[in-house]
Amino acid sequence: MSITKRKKIIAAFLFLLLGLSFFFDIVLGSVRIPISEALNILTGSFSGNSVWDTIIIEFRIPKAITAILAGSALSVSGLLMQTFFRNPLADPFVLGISSGASFGVALVVLTAGSIGINILFLSGLLNKIGITIAAGIGAAVILLLITFVSKKVSSNITLLIFGLMLGYIIGALESILKYFSSPENLQGYVIWGMGNFGNVIWNDLFLLIPIILTGLIIAFILSKPLNLLLLGENYAVSMGVNIKAIRLLIVIAVGILGGVITAFCGPIAFIGIAVPHITRKTLGEFDHKILIPAVCLVGSILALLCDIISQLIWHEQTIPINVVTSLVGAPVVIWIIIQQRKVKHSFAME
């Protein structure tokens, strides 16, 4: 079987898997809805039960779409960061980008009462725009900091530790904010921090979809320079890559993708680091113009599956999505570290 044929089969299989997981994410949940009725609702005709209609149309479909957006956005930002830092362990969560975004959110949410604007957490589009911008800025600032430090330290592990420490510092600052915030704000923030695809309603999607698409398109446009960056910055520059412009665009793309998803869904762990590795291994592919759509696919499937699992463990209640992604993703990271010797072949580890 030729390589291209194999890749086509894998692609077809992934699309099928995406469809199935999308469907089951909608069908399964704390309220049992028969599959036939769910199908009816999905195909546009209503079921006999208006509660079911509401649950599926107003709640589960936006949640599934959000899972797809989050899975794609986090995976693509993980891929961008892994290529850019030439570090197999880079992703928005590990290197503190999510923490930066969280801090932006914390600033907005936790001080909400104290600066006189009394708004319920995550209600109102205006508030969401504010949170989104704060998260995006927080993410971009941390990413710039990491980029700066990556010039100074040669070791990937050092950079990783720096990211973790940065996460702790931001966590400490967050604790201070939490300490002084009102109980209502705090509760909202803590629940947000557990991660959830279900906070997003249709109105939010009209904001979220174009933003995420913009980020993904920027990433896709960067395919060619990203491929060249695999050979290292020096070779990339020698083949005509304008490194400063590319660096800025990568920071913008990761800021948008990582920051915005964090704002809407909370910090989601490990999808960004795990998906690019799984995809590269399965496809045996390096070319970013194929990898970027592919990690979107795999990331969406993984996010949907994690969401399904989060609803299945307890029938009555859903468990936080972060619990599931950590259980799925952390072993992948451990596997990467154990395979360090082999990973060295995937990236130049000085």
Partner: protein, 337 residues
Amino acid sequence: MIESSKILYTKDLAVGYKRKKSDAYILLDHLNLSVENGELICLLGQNGFGKSTLLRTLTGVQKPIKGDFFINGKSISSYERSQLAKVLSIVLTENLNIGEVSVHSVVSMGRYPHNNWLGMLSGKDHMVINNVLEITGLSSYKEKMFNELSDGFKQKVMIARALAQDTSIILLDEPTAFLDIPTRIEILSMLRSLIKQFNKSIIFSSHDLDLALQTADIIWLISKDQKIEVGSPEDLVLNGHFEKAFNKKEIKFHPQRGIFKMNRTADTRIQVKGNKLDVIWTERALERIGIATDNSEKSDGSIQIENKDGKLIWQLNHNSQIVEVHSIGELIKHLKK
């Protein structure tokens, strides 16, 4: 010489490091170098004298401290990165590790400066890539994963990629630094043959003196006074520039052989007689332990090498003792006593 026949020339170029404030630390100054079509140039010099800095400046990564240089008659400062990528390619010393990338894919990246924003390969690109793979002897390896190759092969692939980039100049920074001797020779003779076939100009840096002497048309020799001596290798040996550039207390350039030797003063002198080849290698061994060969009567002893029934015998006459040994190793043991 007409200026236009030069692919690259420097005008009063100074290279070095910019310090934090205004002052710069100059490593090489007043450089007026030129490169013509089809020249294989080796940049030689001791570490820390500015080899890499000069190469980095010539690749446009680092700005000149003073002066300017011109590629195809156009000042480097007026080149866009994407334009420069079409006239100048580089090969670095670093040992690359990249993910799931085949040899063919790495070489095809060389076409990126020439193709569209997505890096799609045109018919011409495919032709160039296949041609380059053929010439560099990589055709049968093109489906192999880059990471599975030996260091020497990886370096060949990177050179093939530079060829696919189809530039008139290729700069190589210590392309053979981490390779074993046979592979070094292979890489350098590959460069030699590329010059012939493609009429390219190649500049490579090295501190591998004897290989450079054998390969390069022209040597750029960094001297100790921030200058570069230019000439054919043989001229630079004869006019003593090599000695000046490299001689240190412990090391001495040997102009007859074109190599460096440890500089040791011999306190013992011994006369060696026998078959010419046997004498040469015996002398080398003696040299190593600090004994000079002297064929005059003043010597402190003598060695006679004889061939008895296909077996070599060394007869050592030293300190009024006569010893017969069957190998140079034994001979050395005796002399060390």
